[in-house]
Amino acid sequence: MAISVALKALAAAAAGIVLGMLLTWASVSLFAFGTVKDGPWRTSLTVGSPQSGPYLRAYVALHGLFALKRSEAIYYDATHDSDGGRLNGACIYRVAGRDPDAAWWSLTAYGADDFLIPNAARRYSVSTESVMRRGDNSFVITVSQRQGGANWIAAGNGPFSLTLRLYHPGAAVAADPAKAALPEIRKESCR
């Protein structure tokens, strides 16, 4: 009887510990509490500041250590395209739009491990300086495993994510990052 009670208590304790850790993982990585959405892009209103709260602080610790405050830079992350599909290297994506309202911006792809994706061409990002614009100042950036022209960022094999960095964002963007005019992410085709 005593052994049965002890075993049950042990099982309950083990279940509690696992459940607690799962709860943390789910709240931080799955639901990204403390962030706002703008199309396929997600950003935080308080990243880097003491007001960020425990959920956002934990999210930043895992996915964006040393992020700056909103007045200095805004980081938009996307793990899904504009239609809600998970970004995956098996597909070709077109990131289309116009320059976001900022002194400088860049678009970078990261693997599921949150590091830059290895590729022989070393094409990790496209920025204000390197993007090729069309006659009407709009641009289309291809994100794919295979070489995709001048505006190309290499994707890896599996799931990946994109980060759009806006340094010295315009006043309207800084005031309400959820309403910024940002490029859309469209899936073109898949293998």
Binding site: L19, G20, M21, P50, F66, S106, T108, Y124, H168
Partner: protein
């Protein structure tokens, strides 16, 4: 199902209470643990209170998640206990490109940032003080301003934008003029 809960309500309560406690502990401990790990990894290059200049980020850069390949990073992990309570940071601002110096405490909070638009006279010069020293007597009127860090450990991070590939050697040389070290007797 109801019978299970009635018979085992005490164990269910133990599991639920422990789950909440572990959730709260991991949530609060995660940023500090991630920061401590990052600081130790960065300090492995040159030690604490020393500025090191990372090569341009690529797929082999595995110390800090989501680095930008368009920026050059220089980092000074600090430990105010080892700096006698105060650390001086000085840099001349490179011209014509985005540049910033930021300070993060051990909880991951960005407690200070100054960029190329804000820096007066084309330079930044400040002293980081911590909870043990508090604000220090700056002495002379021209003593550098002080930044208070709520934790004794943290990071000073310089970002310089590579605005043009052709400018990379010049930008790299310019960032190496910055310094970060123990502040004593009003000087470095």
């Amino acid at each position: 199902m109801n019978g299970f809960f009635e018979r085992n309500w005490m164990y269910v309560a133990i599991a639920a209470a422990l789950a909440l406690a572990v959730h709260a502990a991991t949530l609060v401990g995660l940023p500090d643990a991630a920061m401590a790990r990052a600081l130790d990894m960065l300090a492995a290059d040159g030690g604490y209170n020393t500025l090191t200049h990372a090569p341009r980020a690529d797929a082999n850069s595995r110390k800090i998640v989501r680095p930008s390949p368009d920026l050059l990073y220089s980092a000074c992990p600090f430990d105010l206990d080892k700096a006698h309570g105060a650390l001086r940071v000085y840099a001349r601002v490179p011209r014509g490109t985005y540049w910033s110096v930021s300070v993060f405490d051990a909880h991951t909070d960005n407690i200070f940032v100054e960029n190329n638009r804000q820096a007066r006279g084309g330079k930044v010069d400040f002293v980081i003080v911590g909870p043990k020293s508090g604000l220090i007597d700056g002495g002379a009127a021209h003593a550098p301003p002080q930044v208070y860090s709520p934790t004794t450990k943290g990071l000073v991070l310089f970002r310089t934008l590579i605005d043009d590939e052709a400018n990379l050697p010049g930008i790299d040389a310019a960032r190496r003029q910055a310094s970060c070290g123990t502040y004593s007797d009003g000087g470095m």
